[in-house]
């Protein structure tokens, strides 16, 4: 029984790195407080977010997935970068529109606009296949499409680039890929990955001897070949890293004939980091021997000497689409199933199963 003090210690954040804090504080720090000591054999990786969990955990400490269950195969979802959105020019804020009905309102809506001129149930935007309609739900201050008022009960179609107004809030409709759409959407989604795919279609044996390598913290090495080496989560890449925070196509390392090696982020969702700074997409940087780059949660080190022959791992060969189950979307930070036969790269055998 603790002696009560004036300020309840129960809510004070526990000091980081204290392995025994889970026992002492009545409220252990949020976000999973597993200690480093249990990270190896005893932990079970969550199939969705890869977080290691103690064997007795019923739910994943991080994302809450019911352990021991397999997340159902999901039919391919629309790529987030392809989703239409409403853009607030003033703040730059984007509101993604889901397929189907999207309610717009001041509270408890799919799109929450916290402005007093917006009614609680103001309007709804319906996305049906390629077409989009706006309908007013009886709002106080009205809904306007391209300046014309929308009458309650009468849906009005809207195109990309159209200005919509809910009360005093003005948003423009942006549909990626449509005429007039802003260009700042993920370039990977827009340009079919023709060039890198062509390069990666060539089997490794045609690429010649490796001219460098990428190493991971756990010692895994990936050979780098002359020309473009694609890196990402999908198995169509030459270097496949099963990190759910990496994009399907994350980056490329180009090894030039003159020995120059360049790294470029091809527009990944979570970015690539070098020397503490986030790299701008599509801006190549030179890589020197020993340079490290972080993509998603994976840190890789570039080495300009080729790996020893025995290190070359055939699992890194592009296996083709056949091993992907369910085909997750390109740039969505959801994991490919860890039960991918190319296995080995993800943290310890999730097939070992839950509790």
């Amino acid at each position: 029984m603790e002696e009560r003090t004036i300020v309840d210690p129960g809510f004070a954040p526990a000091p980081a790195g204290d392995a025994t804090r889970v026992m002492q504080s009545p409220f252990p720090a949020a976000g999973g407080g597993f200690s480093d000591a249990t990270q190896h054999a005893l932990t079970v990786a969550c199939p969705v977010c890869q977080t290691p969990n103690g064997p007795a955990e019923r739910y994943c400490q991080d994302c809450g997935l019911l352990m021991g269950s397999q997340p159902a195969d999901v039919e391919p979802l629309p790529d987030a970068a392809q989703l239409p959105r409403l853009v607030d020019a003033a703040s730059g804020r984007e509101y993604l529109l889901n397929p189907g009905l999207n309610t717009v309102g001041r509270e408890s809506a799919d799109i929450v606009l916290a402005d007093p001129s917006v009614s609680r149930r103001h309007a709804q935007v319906t996305l049906d296949g390629g077409s989009l309609t706006v309908e007013d739900l009886g709002s106080t201050n009205g809904t306007f499409v391209a300046g014309s008022p929308v009458r309650a009960g009468t849906p009005v179609a809207a195109q990309s680039g159209t200005l919509l107004r809910f009360g005093s809030v003005q948003l423009s409709l942006a549909i990626p890929g449509a005429a007039g759409a802003p260009e700042a959407i993920d370039p990977v989604a827009l340009s079919p990955a023709a060039a890198p795919a062509a390069a990666s279609a060539a089997p490794i044996s045609e690429r010649g001897a490796p001219v460098g390598r990428l190493t991971l913290a756990d010692g895994t090495e990936f050979p780098l070949y002359s020309g473009v080496n694609t890196i990402g989560r999908r198995s169509a890449n030459e270097i496949v890293l099963a990190d759910s925070f990496m994009s399907g196509k994350h980056a490329e390392i180009t090894c030039g004939e003159d020995g120059q090696v360049q790294f470029v982020d091809v527009g990944s969702t979570n970015g690539s980091f070098h020397a503490g700074a986030r790299l701008a997409p599509n801006s190549p940087i030179p890589l020197a021997d020993g340079a490290t780059v972080r993509m998603g949660k994976t840190e890789v080190t570039f080495r300009s000497s080729a790996p020893a022959a025995s290190v070359e791992r055939t699992v890194m060969a592009p296996m083709g689409e056949a091993t992907l189950m369910g085909g997750p979307p390109e740039d969505d930070p959801w994991p490919t199933t860890p039960f991918d036969a190319s296995g080995g790269v993800a943290s310890g055998g999730p097939e070992a199963g839950g509790s």
Partner: protein, 448 residues
Amino acid sequence: MDQTRIIAPMGEATQLSGFGGGGMDPARTVALGGGGMAQGLALDVISGNQYAHAGRSSADHALIQLTASGMVAGRRSPLNLCLVIDRSGSMEGEPLEYVKRACGHVVDLLDQNDILSIVTFEERVDVVMPARRVMNKGLIKEHLNRIQPGNTTNIYDGIVAGASQVASVRSEGYINRVVVLTDGEPTAGVKDYSSIVGCAAEQRTRGITTTALGFGPEYNEELLAGLARRGGGNYHYIARPELIPEVFRTELEQLLTITAKNVRLRMILGKWVEARQVYGQQPVHGPRTVEIQVPDLERGATLSTLVELELGRRPAGTYRVARVEALYDDCTTGAFNQRVEGDLVFNFVTDPSLVARGVNGTVQRELEVARAGRSLERTMMGIKTHQLSAAMAVQDLQRTQMLLAQAGRSDEAAEVTQAIQGLRSGSGDVEKTLIGTIIDIDLGKRKS
């Protein structure tokens, strides 16, 4: 000593389907320790919908219910109570006489394990009885009888003096409360809302709660409502002097039956989850946590907290979207930092028709009640600012009254009816009553 009890989410949220391997039913109730007898607090966490959208981010709700056991078990926690009484000029005559009588009743209801102090204020503060055990009841009443009306109203100094009386005694294990009664606006001393309410809020962090009793038509109901909300105690509007003793008795009854005090409620959110709002409250947000203030709970009372969440898209499957934890001191056993936990679980699916059918009726009703609270606030503001005519206000109130009645909130519905009558007869105490109804709705406390 640790009485941890894990309760699975109730209602439809427990119906989960489609699990292959693993025979463990994820939605089971586990009661550890304490035998079969319900003790202390029970925690229920109810999802607004059995299902959620896997393929798109969406908003949904969590209803967190804390119920104090209705069983009479063990003893009660002793009180450390200070009565802070307004004796300004306007209290002269009947009001002050009834107050003295009411304080006398309080003395009768306490026993020698309880600590009582009595403070009066007009421009200055007088300590009629310093914090002492209730031993010589006759002597205390004698002192009460000597209270005379004074002049102006210095509420701030009254509250400070009351809190310092309570704090002057070592108060662990006691229920520490200041009960303030006033009939007017603060006219002396510190008069601004934020200082006065801030004082009560600060006392609360030290474990001293404040109840605000407003007597008559002249007091500032916004101030007293703020005192009660931030002070963690109750708010009562007393229309006539002869009702004063009954209100004191109600307050005492609550204090004498508190089974859980120092209640701390916290939600720990999983990945891809954000808490958009806690209805009726200003919660404290931490990294992935939401801390919710809860008043002391008396025997048989249930406190409902409604939280709106944004659930991010994710692979289909069952997820614990948040953990809910409550710590409290059990007043029937004297044990500190008891703990109760619950899980908020949603089954994320790709079929939107499942989500459309999976709405939880209980949570929906709570949502309607929360909206009724906001509607009452708007009506009240409309009346105050004269933007609403009495007729329009009555219309609004009638709609709200029906909503509350349909949602089973009969006490609140009756209060709104009273307010409607008040509006029609022009009796002028509408706002004082309504603000109490709004507090009740926001607090979410009901007798079960």
